[in-house]
């Protein structure tokens, strides 16, 4: 993924061949995210259409200097799913039940094709204590609330919050050392 030229600038210009390639490139990333967070097929189908519509509409905001295209797409997908979840039930992002929380021995991705942001995140996770890594995974990947994570890990709530907070801030600072950010138009409220 990292070596491929970005497609979103061409999508923003209305290049239909880039639109199809964009779908081919990111369909499984988006689908995997959606399936992890939507329990039924119909909701998943609606979600994936909504996400791609937003990707195409926001294509002009992508800037390769700020983040990789994959991370930008994943961000839009996550933001949409979180907003959908909030609208549906004001509950956590993930549909995962506590008894389905992933294997505690689970490691972190070590794929050669990880983009820069994901590679930094992967390296950082590998350096974190296992408890902190698990807390971040349950929060970011499983979408569990802090209280649910504390229950599952049998840790004080404050410890869980601190693990997640420190991890998020550390990676945020590693990724954005300069005053880098996309145009914030889609942040306020919900992704448009």
């Amino acid at each position: 993924m990292t070596t491929e030229a970005p497609l979103l600038p061409r999508v923003a210009e209305g290049d239909s061949s880039a639109v199809a390639k964009c779908l081919d490139r990111y369909k499984n990333l988006v689908w995997s995210l959606v399936r992890r967070n939507c329990t039924d097929f119909q909701t998943a189908e609606d979600a994936v259409q909504d996400i791609f519509l937003k990707i195409w509409k926001n294509a002009g905001r992508f800037d390769a200097e700020i983040a990789s295209e994959t991370t930008f797409v994943a961000m839009i997908a996550r933001r949409s799913l979180i907003d959908m979840s909030r609208k549906r039930s004001h509950t956590a992002l993930g549909a995962t039940e506590l008894d389905q929380v992933s294997n505690p021995d689970m490691g972190v991705a070590n794929r050669a094709e990880l983009n820069d942001e994901a590679a930094k995140a992967s390296a950082m996770l590998a350096d974190f204590p296992s408890e902190q890594r698990d807390a971040i995974r349950m929060s970011v990947f499983e979408g569990l609330s802090h209280a649910s994570i504390a229950d599952a890990m049998k840790l004080p709530l404050g410890t869980v919050k601190t693990y997640i907070r420190r991890g998020m801030i550390e990676l945020r600072n590693a990724l954005f050392t300069k005053e880098e950010a996309f145009d914030p138009q889609m942040v306020k409220g919900e992704v448009q």
Binding site: N28, W31, S32, E45, V48, I66, R137, M168, A181
Partner: protein
């Protein structure tokens, strides 16, 4: 500006927002704080941070997106970008279940073009119907309560489900019980938790007086009562237009559906049915 320039409370909100989402009160708090563009940029930096962690934690292979959804996306893209959007990797699969008469287009071989043409025709029908309605009545049928638009979408989804033909797909004809003329079928997939009821010649109901309600009998549930599959209405206008397709909306996950029964209940529906009036039912043999 780095994250030390923001209050701890705001950073906590951003972290919650980018990981599990905010409650209503937290969302209000966020909106009050995030009036400065710099705050909004910081919110997006945390969204990107969470997306980076997400990718780092995704060590399983990605799940393949079903082809029918890829087809739908290409169709949507074609409409949005004003032309055909072709993908080299997307080849629609042969529909294994005959689509409804109102959805079927031509008798040619099932090709990618045929599949896309079917979606286009259905959209064209809806657009034409919408335009006519707008001209005649001034009513915009693409509002949220649009019968035309929602019916079309439901028909598309039914077609999508039957085309996908999951291994556990149930496709049963209704057996009339207290409505001798009623016919149609019920289509359901346990694995997808998705299904539709199709009705023809069933009696229209007066929503002020009575409601139709679906009940799903789940063999894996250790409960006496069936699961509520949703309350719905059937209007005379819909019946005049042909068959009526109603999505199934169970209020609990279904493990293994074995029987479907439609009852008539007092508005707004009931928690437990006395099963006094059962227009149709369908059972897995």
């Amino acid at each position: 500006m780095n994250n030390q320039d923001f209050s701890e409370e705001f950073v906590d909100l951003l972290i919650l927002r980018s990981t599990v989402g905010l409650s209503e009160s937290e969302q209000l708090e966020f909106e009050q704080l995030a009036t400065d563009p710099e705050y909004l940029k910081e919110a997006e930096r945390f969204d990107l941070t969470a997306a980076a962690f997400e990718q780092a934690l995704q060590f399983d292979e990605f799940e393949e997106m079903p082809r029918e959804i890829q087809d739908l996306l290409l169709f949507s893209a074609g409409d949005m970008f004003g032309g055909d959007v072709e993908s080299e990797s997307v080849t629609p699969i042969e529909p294994k279940v005959e689509l409804a008469d109102r959805s079927r287009v031509g008798d040619g071989p099932s090709t990618r073009e045929a599949s896309r043409f079917r979606w286009r025709e259905m959209t064209a029908i809806a657009v034409a119907a919408a335009s006519l309605l707008l001209v005649v009545t001034g009513f915009n049928p693409f509002s949220e309560t649009s019968d035309v638009a929602s019916q079309l979408t439901t028909a598309q989804r039914l077609a999508s489900l039957t085309t996908a033909n999951p291994a556990d797909l149930i496709d049963l004809e209704w057996t009339p019980v207290h409505d001798a003329d009623a016919s149609g079928k019920v289509v359901w997939s346990d694995s997808r938790q998705e299904g539709y009821m199709v009705f023809e010649n069933i009696k229209a109901n007066d929503p002020a007086l009575e409601k139709y309600q679906l009940w799903i009998f789940d063999t894996d549930k250790a409960q006496k009562e069936p699961i509520d599959g949703g309350v719905f209405d059937i209007s005379a206008a819909e019946l005049e237009a042909g068959r009526v397709i109603v999505p199934i909306k169970p209020n609990l996950p279904i493990s293994k559906a074995v029987q479907f029964a439609v009852t008539v209940e007092k508005p707004p529906g009931v928690v437990v049915s006395k099963r006094e009036k059962i227009p149709v039912l369908a059972a897995v043999e």
